[in-house]
């Protein structure tokens, strides 16, 4: 019996000793939209730096900031800029040296069933009418010459950055007091949305451009008129040159100056996000930044690089 107790104590001591090794882990969490980029970065970074530990989770942009502001992560992925309230939460915990770095451009895509032959292009106001609470229920509510059929709506769940982004630009962007409709199918799983739109003649929905690129068969993308009367199709080119407005958006990572200064492994990972963005970002379906924008991000790191 005593022997077992001694053994148990030794094992426990060993475990405690081993846990001090854990200091150089880089923990990344946040947006599930940015996750594929972070995963690609972590994967390549680990291959290039044997023994490096880069862990990535996807609890969502908001939950990611919550962890970041508690000091639980070193890098926070975000599909929208950090909010003032989140900056305050961080500051309350002594985290007041936040650095924002853009890593890619994402575009939202509005989709309809391929058998839908009347919807080719929609204005921002029409999208607003479609997705606002108390808005359209039939196609003719959006544009009088469209058929009088009932529309079935599909959109991402409220926890996703994609929903936030659509809500801010289309729903709230047109009318500050408007709310997003709640009578459609909401899902965090883009496959559910894609399947629904694919099988429903009268469906309309939206999700990230990256997902649309992968799942484009069986779906029809709607061009968007940002207000100047020109219909722009979602594509890499139109997102990059900014003409696919307002449904293309920047994707960010957040870290702290003190990490960039004192934690070489964090600096290395952040630098890797930028250095590899030209190859990794398009690979996972997003749009990489034009050279000037990329240089602007590099400049934020310059003072910390050796």
């Amino acid at each position: 019996m005593t022997r077992i107790a001694v053994l148990a104590a030794l094992v426990l001591l060993g475990l405690l000793a081993a846990c001090s090794f854990d200091d150089e882990t880089v923990r990344i969490d946040g947006s599930s939209t940015v996750f594929p980029i972070a995963e690609a970065v972590a994967e390549e970074f680990t291959l290039a730096n044997k023994g490096a530990r880069v862990n990535v989770g996807f609890s969502g942009t908001g939950a990611g900031f919550e962890k970041f502001c508690r000091g639980e992560t070193q890098i926070s992925n975000a599909s929208r800029p950090i909010r003032d309230s989140e900056i305050e939460d961080c500051a309350a915990n002594g985290i007041d040296d936040i650095v924002e770095i853009q890593v890619a451009i994402d575009a939202l895509t509005v989709l309809v069933n391929p058998n839908n032959d009347f919807v080719d292009c929609m204005t921002v106001d029409e999208l607003h009418t479609a997705f606002t609470n108390g808005g359209a229920s039939t196609w003719s509510d959006i544009r009088p010459e469209w058929p009088d059929d009932k529309i079935i709506f599909y959109y991402p769940g409220t926890d996703s950055g994609t929903f936030d982004y659509f809500f801010e630009t289309i729903v709230e962007g047109v009318d500050e007091n408007a709310t997003h409709r709640g009578d459609g199918t909401a899902s965090e799983d883009d496959n559910v949305l894609a399947l629904g739109i694919e099988h429903d003649q009268n469906a309309i929905g939206y999700f990230g451009f990256a997902f649309f690129r992968e799942a484009s068969e069986g779906l029809k993308a709607v061009a968007v008129d940002g207000g100047d009367g020109v219909c722009v199709e979602p594509s890499f080119d139109t997102a990059l040159d900014g003409s696919y407005a307002p449904l293309s958006r920047p994707l960010f990572i957040y870290t702290r100056e003190s990490f960039l200064r004192d934690r070489p492994e964090v600096l290395a990972v952040v630098n890797f996000y930028l250095e590899s963005s030209d190859t990794l970002v398009p690979e996972v379906g997003y749009v990489s930044m034009p050279p000037e924008l990329l240089d602007e991000q590099f400049r934020k790191l310059k003072q910390f690089l050796p």
Binding site: D29, A42, V56
Partner: protein
């Protein structure tokens, strides 16, 4: 001369009752076939989709953004650590509680309250345990999203259901056995240790396996407390970050279908099913050994 053959045939209400009896047999069979059928279809569909991906490389590779390169290495290791720690933490507490309640506890209102609470806790959704784990183990005890925090959370989740199963098993042991042992001069503890426990063990094992299987498939609670998804190194102690097989399955199912991650998800489900079935098998073997002793 042969005796005339008389065929007795029920008529009236008796005939109706007999018809009902024959019919009920088929209805009940159909009811069980619904469950088995759905299960068989799911198993077939999963194996059909995932079997081709089930290679040695798949089991020994780290996660990747490419479906064909991604594997289960870090999540299998993480699952083994978390489950192992969960079992070590939960079983002594659960079995101890069950023995105390059934054999030693004074029968008073407090015991009723404890029993009622256990039954309620066994029905609490796992995400609630995830929130508890995040608040108490990850943050208050500052364990971080570590294997230990995960194991403590899963242990808290499975203790109530294990206690109830163990109680049930201990209650099945005939009172005459206890009386016989006590009559021969054995102490209360000796009676429990040498007669009640061995008799109850097969039942306790069944409860444990059900509980551990539930812990093995748990996703929501672990994501809640901050378990990671991408980890490309091997766990070596209880204080490290971790990921598990169900988390990978979840991650792969929400990816775009065309990328091939759905195949990985199916293959990972096969691995998880095989692991749970193996656990069941081990439990069955132990059960049989104790029955024959």
């Amino acid at each position: 001369m042969a005796a005339p053959v008389i065929i007795l045939r029920a008529t009236g209400r008796v005939a109706r009752r007999q018809a009902l009896s024959r019919g009920s047999r088929w209805v009940l069979l159909a009811a069980s076939l619904v469950g088995v059928g759905v299960l068989a279809y799911l198993a077939y569909d999963t194996i059909d989709t995932g079997a081709s991906r089930l290679t040695w490389d798949f089991l020994t590779s780290y996660p990747s953004r490419f479906a064909e390169r991604a594997g289960l290495r870090s999540s299998i290791i993480g699952t083994v650590w978390v489950l192992g720690a969960t079992i070590v933490l939960a079983l002594p507490v659960a079995i101890g509680t069950a023995i105390w309640i059934e054999e030693f506890a004074p029968k008073n209102p407090l015991l009723t309250v404890v029993k009622l609470n256990l039954a309620n806790l066994a029905g609490v959704p796992s995400i609630i345990y995830g929130i508890l784990g995040l608040a108490v183990f990850v943050r208050f005890a500052s364990l971080g999203p570590s294997i230990l925090a995960g194991a403590l959370t899963l242990a808290a989740m499975i203790i109530p259901m294990t206690v109830i199963a163990a109680q049930e098993a201990i209650r099945q042991v005939p009172q005459s056995l206890r009386d016989g042992s006590l009559a021969l001069g054995a102490t209360h503890w000796q009676t429990v240790r040498h007669h009640v426990l061995p008799q109850a063990l097969p039942g306790i094992m069944t409860g444990i396996i059900l509980a551990v299987s539930r812990a093995a498939g748990e996703t929501a609670a672990l994501i809640m407390l901050g378990a990671f998804t991408f980890i490309a190194w091997d766990n070596t102690n209880l204080f490290e970050d971790f990921t598990t097989v169900p988390i990978q399955i979840y991650n792969w199912t929400v990816r775009p279908r065309q990328q091939g991650f759905q195949v990985n998800a199916s293959a990972a489900i096969i691995v998880l099913m095989a692991a749970v079935l193996t656990l069941n098998l081990i439990a069955a073997v132990i059960r049989e050994r104790f029955r024959h002793e």
